[in-house]
């Protein structure tokens, strides 16, 4: 009896072990085998789908789907459909790295469109350095990601706008207004983290470059996701500045404007807010202040063309929400991937796709003159629309938009790179 019992127990153990191995393989192993045989071109998208910046992932995926759905409806690339595999990194860089590895190793993705925020993008960059698939960073605006040669990865590109480009264009615009209205004393109010600090420093540097009379008299650095801005508003008011620059964004910017309105902050000085113009922000402010200048993010009237309006209508119809700045950046990423795949006849080899994308120019309404280029020298997008305008409380939410010319941006960017030791 005992021998039968022990045989039974061993057998049960084996079954349990087998089940464990099967479960483990099912969880982390099998999809690669099953999905790898489907024939579709699989594109992995690590992004943020939960928490306060979930809109980043939502509108990034929206921008990608608009392009890939169209390609799939037309039969795909050489008959192969494009399949998006989206994963939530929850905004943690180490999760972004793990998720990216899983997308490639487990889900069989051959291309990565990295729709992470900046810190996640740097983590993804290191995975790409090791694995070597094609990667397009579609959201990170931190200049060093592509400008710093030490961080360069041959198969990694960026279709997101770049902080230094915005700073030069914005600085030029602000200086013109400052000269016309005599705005000499400036205060700043930006989130206390790398993006907020570098964006503000660069904007003010170029505002001063174009107008030597500008001086910063007060700097405020509210914490990211801070709920109460009373102290910050009081500090800015006490500075008695002529103008204020802010790189606050998303819900923080909405909260700041709502609270600053109670103190009449916007009646007492001119304000420049680079991130106000995006849908999801500009249409969420309850009491919209007059005379606030906003940077160009995405707007259905910029440029005021039929293509842009059609794209907006199609996006809203298919994705059920308004597009944001992240939507167009991802739209461009998707278009470049499609064009590269066409050039390689559907070959997803990272090096071949990178060769195809390097220096690529595509036609799009998001570019000055209807095109944008992936600059070969540093794998970053140029010639996209940069500019500022006056914010409005209702549609079209922006008036008198002035597009920045790219020639001065190229020139000053070269000097900035030299100063940073990047060139």
């Amino acid at each position: 009896m005992s021998s039968i019992g022990s045989r039974r127990s061993a057998s049960r153990r084996q079954i349990l072990k087998g089940a464990g191995v099967l479960a483990m393989t099912g969880v982390v192993g099998t999809p690669a085998i099953v999905k790898g045989q489907s024939g579709a071109i699989k594109i992995g998208v690590p992004t943020v789908l939960s928490g306060r910046v979930a809109i980043l992932g939502q509108s990034s995926v929206g921008g990608l789907k608009v392009v890939f759905d169209k390609v799939n409806e037309a039969g795909g690339i050489n008959g192969r459909k494009i399949e998006l595999v989206v994963r939530d990194s929850k905004g943690a860089p180490q999760e972004a790295a793990k998720v990216t590895r899983d997308l490639i190793n487990n889900d069989g993705c051959q291309i990565i469109i990295d729709a992470e925020a900046s810190s996640g993008a740097f983590a993804v960059q290191e995975v790409i350095r090791e694995i070597g698939v094609l990667c397009i960073h579609s959201n990170s605006e931190t200049s060093s990601l592509t400008a710093d040669p030490k961080l360069h990865v041959p198969t990694a590109f960026r279709t997101a706008r770049q902080g230094i480009h915005d700073a030069i264009g914005g600085g030029d615009y602000a200086a013109k207004i400052a000269k016309a209205k005599g705005l000499k004393k400036w205060a700043t109010c930006s989130p206390d983290y790398a993006y907020g600090r570098s964006n503000t420093a660069e904007f003010m540097e170029y505002a001063k470059h174009f107008d030597g009379n500008i001086q910063v008299v007060e700097e405020s650095w509210p914490k990211l996701f801070q709920p109460d801005y009373t102290e910050v508003v009081t500090k800015v008011l006490n500075a008695k500045a002529d103008a204020m620059y802010s790189a606050l964004w998303g819900g923080d910017l909405v909260a700041f404007i709502d609270q600053a309105n109670l103190y009449g902050l916007f009646d007492k000085q001119a304000s420049f807010m680079v991130n106000l113009g995006d849908y999801g922000v500009v249409d969420q402010v309850k009491q919209f202040p007059q005379g606030v200048y906003s940077g160009g993010r995405y707007n259905r009237t910029v440029p005021p063309t039929k293509e842009n309006e059609d794209w907006y209508q199609n996006y809203v119809k298919t994705q059920k929400h308004k597009p944001t700045n992240w939507s167009w950046e991802n739209d461009v990423a998707a278009q470049m991937v499609v064009e590269a795949l066409k050039k390689t006849n559907g070959d997803t080899n990272g090096k071949k796709l990178a060769e195809a994308i390097k220096g690529m120019t595509i036609k799009t309404q998001f570019g000055v003159g209807g095109s944008v280029t992936m600059r070969a020298e540093d794998n970053t997008l140029v010639n996209y629309i940069i500019g500022y305008g006056l914010s409005l409380s209702k549609e079209p939410y922006i008036a008198d938009f002035q597009t920045s010319p790219w020639e001065p941006i190229y020139e000053l960017e070269k000097q900035w790179k030299k100063k940073q030791g990047y060139a």
Partner: protein
């Protein structure tokens, strides 16, 4: 075989089992899962040395996870250290940090200890965020972590990195096991259960607590180093309070009274995370429900429950043997009379 040798034999068997994973051609995703799990497993296991064995509920343990990660990452990026030297340096730095923090915290009890460790963690976190030129601020250590060859080992090769992580992990687990089964480990339990009695028995309570705090921090630091090697970077959220919270979840999920409980909790949490992330973006909701079930339903970790059931069964069997012996003796006496 004595308990100590049996434990070492188990550690050896565990190491062999882990090393066999790539030999049997497991996909890279499984290796990645194990490496990630080992890094967080060390964080949870080391925290349980404080929570489960010493009664010191630390809310700031991730500080040492981050200190190991940053010290190692910065040493490697400086280009002046080999991997073993940077590894040792990171452990020494973490130990020194733990010594300072521990010296201040261990004299406090319960909630005061918990909150002071949390405060130190947030201080450390803000130093990482604020010292941008050194730590990269909220962008973390950018540009990758160089992995020059040492003793013929190339950690740029994923398989060799996996083997390295397995060896480091098993060594740490073996050290922790030896520690909790040693007289020092029993002293920790004595302090946990009644520190006044321990003091009356002549135990230098603060010194024992401080030693435990430093050792636990060093193991967490090794976890941080493994994660840095895995993601080729170090990020401020390694040292954020949510990472400490995650380690506490792992202990809750696995159980704090069984040595490997936190490790089981780590595997459960990572599996839940990986599965839910594949199918939904509501990972936290799923994790919350699972934790509610465990807390309200089981009221302990699965391993604690299994250990308790086994103990009950063992006691019942022993009682049955005693009852049978008593009945036999009574029968004999009756027959004799």
């Amino acid at each position: 075989m004595t308990g100590r040798w049996r434990d070492l034999a188990w550690a050896g068997a565990g190491l062999i089992a882990l090393l066999l994973v790539p030999v049997f051609g497991a996909p890279p995703a499984i290796r990645d899962f194990i490496m990630f799990g080992m890094a967080y497993g060390l964080l949870a296991m080391s925290l349980n040395l404080l929570i489960g064995y010493s009664g010191l509920v630390s809310f700031g343990h991730a500080m040492f996870f981050a200190s190991g990660a940053y010290a190692f990452g910065l040493a490697m990026q400086s280009g002046k250290f080999s991997i073993p030297a940077a590894f040792a340096l990171a452990i020494v730095f973490t130990a020194a940090l733990a010594l300072i923090v521990g010296a201040i915290c261990v004299r406090l009890n319960e909630i005061y200890f918990a909150f002071l460790t949390l405060a130190f963690q947030m201080l450390f976190y803000n130093v990482i965020l604020g010292w941008v030129s050194f730590t990269g601020g909220d962008q973390g250590l950018m540009g990758g972590i160089p992995r020059p060859k040492f003793l013929g080992i190339d950690l740029a090769d994923r398989t060799q990195l996996y083997v390295f992580c397995c060896v480091a992990f098993i060594i740490c687990i073996a050290i922790l096991r030896q520690l909790v089964t040693s007289p020092f480990g029993y002293t920790l339990r004595l302090i946990r259960d009644n520190q006044e009695r321990a003091a009356f028995l002549g135990v230098n309570v603060p010194l024992v607590k401080l030693t435990c705090f430093v050792i636990s921090a060093c193991v967490a630091g090794v976890g941080g180093i493994l994660l840095t090697l895995f993601v080729s970077g170090a990020y401020p959220n390694f040292g954020f309070w949510t990472t400490s919270g995650e380690a506490i979840f792992m202990i809750l999920l696995g159980g704090s009274n069984v040595f490997l409980g936190p490790l089981v909790g780590t595997v459960i949490l990572r599996l839940l995370n990986d599965i839910t992330v594949t199918y939904t973006s509501h990972t936290e909701l799923v994790l919350g429900i699972v934790i509610l079930i465990l807390v309200l339903g089981l009221r302990k970790g699965p391993l604690d429950l299994i250990a308790e059931r086994l103990e009950n069964r063992r006691q019942a069997a022993a009682q049955a043997v005693r009852d049978a012996a008593d009945a036999g003796a009574a029968e004999t006496r009756k027959g004799g009379s």
